[in-house]
Point group: C2
Chain length 314, copies 2
């Protein structure tokens, strides 16, 4: 059947233009459940703030926390959590598979509903200023909030990690956006950004050989010649005896999940390696999954309005 008429005639009179922001702070603690609970505690039970998810990884020694809610309330709650993390995490003793520069490594703000990117950038700047002032943690703005082009890319900001930061932060190119050019002795520095929703996506490879994961990551990531909106690397998951290609899809509407998945499968074949499956870290936008379902089922004449639930949420 080809649809020739789609009618939407009745708009709810209760159309409240409430702004919703998402914030996905990453903290450098993935093993001590007690510490993690203390860090997320300020995100619970606050008016206008909804703690959606937190996922810790022992290998990465990192936890990814997802909150949504009203911009000011979210900003304040997250800043409070950053303060708790600074008192609990000692980076001089930290090791893990994931690059990090701070006890709170990154604080990205993402527009979800009735918010512009400009508003998110403002929110990021406010949060950055608060973090530096309250906790003496220098702050680097990155992505859409970046104060200069060379500071846009998180990987460039974080290069050298916590250990290299005391020297780096004295360089003219790497003066913090907020705070003095002196790292917090235990908490390091924190990156704060505004960005579009990304998909944090890991693809499991049935091999312990990290070289293979690294090679495949190079094939798919932008920097080495891969897809424009992929940042990727290889990682070892020793307790599971496998490796992963771990990635951020920074624009899922242009570089689709299924395309990367199929490409990884295709590249893995050359090594005789199977792809075991994949996982999303944190939350994923609906469109990203529907786009992949659409591809695999060869769906035509489809759009998001055909999903019942999208019509309940206005």
């Amino acid at each position: 059947m080809k649809p020739f008429g789609v009618g939407k005639s009745y708009k709810t009179k209760m159309e409240i233009a409430k702004k919703i922001v998402e914030c996905v702070p990453n903290f450098s603690e993935g093993r001590d459940l007690d510490k993690i609970e203390k860090i997320v505690a300020p995100l619970r039970g606050k008016e206008g703030v909804k703690l959606l998810n937190y996922e810790a990884d022992k290998d990465y020694n990192r936890v990814v926390v997802t909150v949504i809610g009203e911009p000011i309330a979210v900003r304040n709650a997250v800043v409070e959590a950053v303060g708790v993390a600074a008192g609990l995490i000692d980076l001089t003793k930290h090791e893990g598979q994931h690059a990090r520069m701070g006890a709170t490594d990154v604080v990205p703000f993402i527009p979800i509903k009735n918010m512009t990117m400009e508003e998110c950038v403002e929110l990021a700047k406010e949060a950055g200023a608060m973090i530096a002032e309250k906790f003496n943690i220098p702050v680097f703005l990155y992505e859409e909030a970046a104060s200069a082009p060379h500071r846009q890319n998180l990987a460039d900001v974080r290069k050298g990690q916590f250990e290299g930061m005391p020297e780096k932060i004295k360089l003219p190119m790497w003066q913090p956006d907020f705070g003095a050019p002196v790292i917090h002795p235990q908490a390091g520095v924190t990156g704060v950004s505004a960005r579009m929703p990304l998909v944090a996506y890991n693809i499991d490879l049935d091999t312990k050989n990290i070289e293979i994961a690294n090679k495949i990551a190079k094939c798919i990531r932008n920097s080495s010649g891969g897809f424009k909106y992929i940042k990727a690397g290889g990682v070892s998951l020793e307790d599971r005896g496998i490796t992963q290609v771990t990635m951020n899809i920074t624009d899922y509407s242009k570089t689709s999940m299924y395309r990367v998945f199929e490409t990884v499968k295709m590249e893995a074949k050359r090594y005789g390696v199977n792809v075991l499956g994949s996982e999303v870290v944190g939350l994923v936008p609906l469109e990203a999954l529907v786009d992949s379902a659409s591809y695999y089922l060869g769906l035509y004449n489809f759009n998001m309005d055909k999903i019942i639930e999208t019509n309940l949420w206005e």
Copy 2:
């Protein structure tokens, strides 16, 4: 990363337990756009009623309309549309690829939010009574609203179609639930039901040979030995030069879209026929698509809460 803690601490104080029902009336007109517009007109601009979609098919000579909203408002608007259809569609002159017994062939009510199946059954009975009384159209309740087990299955109720109904309706087994046992001369009879959301799904085959589509339909449908929750048949789309396996997936949570799709592909191979793609008719529940995306991407550690948007509508 393995999630070990998921926190949802803040529930909106504005939790209104508003009931939402979906109704998917099918009318036996798929070619005359003017008539279709008149039939859907009562579904527009009514408080508490949202016209989401209507899809007409020339080959089927049928239009599938989807509305959601508050139960009483939806019931009343749909009954009004049934009245309009009765005045416009003359089944004595109707031909099309899809079985039909009425100008309004079926009126299913589906619980979407804060509604029980029992409440939908009540709503179906009210609507059925109204249709019979206002328009002299006999009504058969089916599916969850059925008044006897042999009347549950729509195919059994509709067997013989419009042409066979004048005789059938006189049989003791087939007395209408509402109205006298005399068909409406132009509008026939109407089936009214309550049911779970189904997925109306068509898979395109790159062949004009209807026998192949029919054979594949037999492989996948419950009645001939296929999947429990599939009702299917073959259909010719002559203007496109292809055939389709057309189906209803009556419980997508148990018989998944991807499973049927892959099975049809597998069966089509024996005839050297390609599957060109597929389409959803009307609306589809989010879970059905996400389930398929999950399969193809080998997603583990996934649940619906990980979709950002599901956290916005409560």
